[in-house]
Symmetry: C2
Subunit: 211 residues, 2 copies
């Protein structure tokens, strides 16, 4: 399965197997329930261990959540770098970046839900709101400013691109089974994904090209 | 203030003043904390009443939340109808719809956060996932299918339009103060809003026009 292959690439296992199992389970629990409703007990049960075994690795819920969020953004950034380095010029790089985010989120829908919840939050949880997402934000800001600098792109705001174009991948993944049977789709289905990817490319070009 | 004027139009007060105060406070509490973390006590405290007074109007958290969500989508639908009826032809109607959603969400950011959380949820909370959002979904589906039927639009999926274009308004509102000082903006600022609106129009046209 393509999605599973990407998932394996996208993950960055560190440390021992139990620690990784805790992180995998925690990502799913935080994605499904949100930070507030998630309990360390839910994570322990999903892994098949007891609560104290989690606390051996992560002192509390906040630390566990932080590690999950850090892993998501680190993996996403790695994934982008691999794709973008093969692309030449700002437009190819922008499309490669958007493709990478889309493929990453389709392969790892738990990440999509966690980022979606992050956007919904009224105020950042910690002192530095972009401690983990900074790399992702810089990835898109860098390619946009390169395109503007060399005259390929018009003066477009990176935040507008993030909100208006890049964010679509999150909705595409999260809305797949949310809106009733008649509106459901499989985001990993090749034809469905190709259709949405073509739309994102069209939108990206319309957004940045002059005129 | 423009936002306050739209807010007044956008709200549909029903019943007595206390009930409305409870709903207003609950919308803010659910938007800020999410369903799981929100407590009736938080709502009572925000209104300046005691918990039993809420229970007089709403038997529990689920019923209160349902009424908040129902009000949001009913108000959004009313707001769209007023705007769309002045527009002639599918393209003007599509842009009027997207403008209406954008203005509605800018004026009522609590609604944006609640919808954003709804999208993040793994599975619908009740038996009918679109009990409240159905009207909004139909609004965009109707204009898209009209445009396709009369040949103005290419064969574009309404779900792709929702995810790829319409959803941007949610990110625009929710991300305004989330990503650190250097990336913050006021979504109600006229110049900022005009810039994002122009982008949304550009994207909508690129998405639906043939070629």
């Amino acid at each position: 399965m393509v999605a599973e292959a990407i998932r394996q690439v996208a993950r960055q296992p560190r440390g021992d197997a139990t620690r990784q199992s805790i992180l995998d389970a925690a990502e799913k629990v935080f994605a499904d329930l949100g930070y507030a409703a998630a309990r360390l007990e839910d994570v322990a049960q999903a892994v098949g261990i007891r609560r104290p075994s989690i606390v051996y690795y992560f002192p509390g819920k906040q630390q566990l959540y932080d590690q999950v969020e850090a892993d998501i953004f680190a993996s996403m950034h790695e994934f982008v770098l691999k794709r973008v380095k093969h692309a030449e010029g700002p437009m190819a790089q922008l499309l490669a970046l958007l493709d990478a985010w889309l493929d990453f989120l389709v392969a790892r829908p738990t990440a999509a839900r966690i980022i979606q919840r992050l956007v919904a939050d009224f105020a950042p949880r910690g002192d530095n709101p972009v401690r983990f997402s900074e790399t992702a934000l810089r990835d898109i800001e860098t390619v946009i400013s390169m395109g503007i600098a060399d005259g390929t792109f018009r003066q477009v705001s990176a935040m507008h691109m993030l909100n208006g174009v890049a964010g679509g991948a999150l909705f595409y993944v999260c809305n797949a089974a949310q809106l009733g049977e008649g509106r459901s789709y499989d985001p990993a289905d090749p034809a469905e994904l190709a259709g949405f990817r073509a739309l994102i490319h069209k939108l990206a070009k319309a957004a940045v090209l002059p005129g």
